[in-house]
Amino acid sequence: MGPMTKLLVQRISLGLLLLLLVSVVIFVGTMVLPGDVAQQILGQSATPEALANLRAELGVDQPPVARYFEWLGGLLTGDLGTALTSGQSINEAVGRRFSNTLFLAVSAAVIAVPLAIFLGLLAVRYRERWPDKLISATTLTTISMPEFVIGYILMFVLGVQLRWFSPTSVGYRPDADLFTRLESIAIPILVLTLVVLAHMMRMTRAAILNVMQSAYIETAELKGMPMLKIIRKHALPNAIAPIVNVVMLNLAYLVVGVVVVEVVFVYPGMGQYLVDHVTKRDIPVVQACGMIFAAIYIGLNLVADIVSILTNPRLRHPK
């Protein structure tokens, strides 16, 4: 087995172990929350009889450990089980919801990632001058505001006042044509872009500036190479590892962290689905969503690791 394969196997098995631990943490977490699924379903209208009947029907009167292992068994065979509250298949609901979330996240990423890297390069080119300062000031302002605040502002200005885009995503249909779908999520895409831009932009800027201190850049400069070409041909390839790292982290955030944006804009993704089921203590669904989110985080970080190894000859060919 080559060192690369060994490394990969090691990383993946560590990731799986981590996932298992995450599932235990989520399960224990939902147990600690006050109230149980039966109480939450019936809410204020719960009578003791109705509660007892519902608990028995849902099987939540079984001991927690037994329920956990039953769930784990299902997961290993690819069956996420059924939601306690609605009795519907989780696989089906999650599949539909997750593809909506992915659509939103990918749409935002397609704009945010190139834009952030471009702005980062621009900031390096004009470092410590007004374009650099303007870019930093703007992106740092937008990252400093909570998403829902930016969301409400854009909803009001672009949606209600100017009527450029739909203020909410209530018109979103998964089976509509691409243009209609994009129009209904235009403002959420913008919000997400504004939220993730600063982190990636600043990291790109810092990573390239770091490389720019090197002797070979100075040589290139002395040769009379134009600045943008130096950045593109010499600095960027050597700064790729930290940039990929931060891009992956932000991609994970786009998938996992869109909960607030989805809820605010009434977008039928994983966000509202997860929030509703946490409120109802619907443990199988919370587990399923938690596992998917954890898998994405771990998976994307794995990709970042591998890319940084591949781009670094010293890591690629260890002594």
Binding site: P48, F156, G159, S166, T168, V266, Y273, H277
Partner: protein, 527 residues
């Protein structure tokens, strides 16, 4: 000039001219937009209901965890969905009385223990199956049976027997109850084929619409029920979109993504109503916000302390600052003028001196702990802070504990001795009292155990003479007002809003919001 405008307004109602064009023509004739809009509204009313189009509503309260089983309905989305595809035996009419729906008429025996509902003849479910008395009996049995999870069980506990008798359904009660027909209008009790026992979530009923597609907590699309017996249901399609976020719901209405929304926040209702194409409907309701004390738990087991706190509440200030005027003051009973047998009792005013007097008399030493959360009612933490101020003026130190929203209904409400909460109100006094103030009530959230009160409630149920019942309820109200554990500072209005794309709103319909959830079938699309 007026004739011409009238002609134009008729063209608008027929859809031959847009509203914008109309306002433009009116302006050209020197008529202001406000006057033009008023003219248009009366023209629309005069034109009467129009059929066709899609009515889209944005509703708060839905969740992806909801079920289509009407027995489990516990929020406004589920209630609205139930009443679009299904109908109970009877429903509230605009005067607070009852109209027959699946039942054509009903009659009680002289002792109010046996009730006979005569079914409307020749009506069918949306799948074409005729409605039989067995279906109705099975429906009631499913909600009242031993293994039920129905939210209506509390209402049906007194039912002894239900049997089908030809085209009649006969309900026998353990105790007399003159208000039984009112129980049957509950939104859980929509009639289903076979009582919905084999498939509770099939959404097959006798309502004006049938469910075409749905995604729980996201959206529901209904189309006209071709087999519907009645005259409700003007729009070809009703689309119900779940929008839980207040700002998003209002924005969706303002931008024309939906035509009708509920729960406009009182804080922004004034702003929303300024838009020319939007009308805000603030409807008085039986819903109220409460501060509830457990009458059997120290220190609240002392009536002087309870009275001290009642006098320390500035009710008008609450209406002004928490409801922004969209409501009315309460009087420490759960009953207001929206109930048919309401009797006014002397309004309790904010009186720091009396509060001080009762507080000292109670002998209580130290502070009083009040628990609150954002979801106990909108603005509850603010209301608690106002209460703290007004109580401080009477020398009462109120300590406020902010509880998390999550888990409030299971851990704090009906569990802790003093907290904030809300009630949606009921159509008749008997239901409100039996739900929360009878000693044996499941949700006796003030732990109010008063034998005299219980006896009066049972006596009122058996009393078929309305004037005598009214007197009994007045006396019960006085008992609660003086001895009960609830401080009721305010009754909240239901604040709905519509765009001018739809018409037909009827003001002051008793019951819940959205014209007691009949707005989508009683309103129509105008353009």
């Amino acid at each position: 000039m007026n004739n011409q405008l009238e002609y134009f307004s008729k063209r608008v109602t027929k859809g031959l001219m847009t509203r914008r064009e109309f306002v433009g023509r009116a302006a050209a004739m020197g008529v202001t937009a406000a006057v033009a809009n008023t003219m248009l509204a009366s023209a629309v009313r005069a034109a009467g209901p129009q059929t066709g189009g899609t009515l889209r509503m944005g509703v708060q309260g839905g969740s992806t965890t909801d079920s289509l089983d009407p027995a489990l309905a516990a929020n406004s989305v589920a209630t609205q969905v139930n009443l679009l595809w299904g109908e109970p035996l009877v429903s509230l009419n605009d005067d607070g009385g009852l109209d027959g729906r699946v039942a054509e008429s009903f009659e009680g025996s002289a002792d109010a223990k046996t009730w006979t509902f005569k079914l409307r003849s020749g009506i069918t479910f949306s799948n074409g199956q005729p409605v039989t008395a067995e279906d109705v009996a099975e429906t009631i049995d499913r909600h009242a049976g031993e293994d039920t999870k129905s939210g209506a069980l509390g209402l049906l506990r007194d039912i002894d027997t239900v049997r089908a008798d030809g085209s009649n359904v006969v309900i026998g009660l353990k105790n007399a109850n003159a208000d039984l027909p009112y129980y049957m209008q509950d939104y859980h009790l929509v009639v289903q084929p076979g009582g919905g026992k084999s498939d509770p979530a099939a959404a097959i009923g006798t309502g004006p619409y049938v469910l075409k597609e749905h995604e729980m907590g996201v959206r529901f699309v209904f189309e006209k029920n071709p087999n519907y017996w009645g005259d409700y249901g003007y729009a070809n399609e009703v689309e119900l979109i779940v929008i839980n976020d207040n700002t998003a719901r209002v924005a969706a209405l303002q931008s024309g993504q939906v035509d009708l929304i509920d729960r406009v926040p009182p804080r922004t209702a004034g702003l929303v109503s300024r838009a020319p194409n939007i009308t805000v409907h603030s409807e008085p309701s039986a819903g109220h916000y409460v501060f509830i004390m457990h009458c059997n738990t120290a220190p609240f087991d002392n009536n002087d302390l309870r009275l001290a706190l009642k006098y320390a509440m500035n009710r008008q200030e609450m209406v002004d600052k928490v409801l922004f005027g969209y409501g009315s003051v309460g009087n420490d009973t759960p009953i207001n003028s929206s109930y048919p047998l309401f009797t006014e009792i002397e309004q309790r005013e904010y009186d720091p001196d009396k509060a001080k007097f009762h507080f000292e008399k109670s002998g209580h030493d130290g502070s009083v702990l009040l628990r609150t959360s954002d979801n106990s009612f909108p603005g509850a933490p603010d209301a608690a802070a106002l209460f703290q101020q007004s109580a401080a003026a009477a020398g009462i130190n109120l300590e406020i504990k902010r509880e998390p929203n999550d888990g409030y209904w299971s851990e704090v409400w009906n569990a802790q001795p003093f907290c904030t909460s809300y009630w949606g109100g009921r159509p008749v006094q008997d239901q409100m009292f039996s739900t929360a103030y009878l000693s044996t009530a499941d949700w006796n959230d003030t732990r109010f155990f008063n034998e005299q009160f219980d006896q009066m409630l049972l006596a009122a149920r058996a009393e078929l003479d309305d004037s005598k019942r009214k007197q009994i309820y007045a006396d019960m109200g006085t008992i609660l007002h003086n001895e009960g554990g609830l401080i009721c500072p305010m009754f909240n209005d239901f604040i709905d809003a519509q765009s001018d794309r739809i018409a037909g709103w009827v003001p002051e319909v008793p019951g819940f919001a959205f014209m007691n959830y009949h707005a989508p079938m009683r309103m129509w699309v105008v353009s």
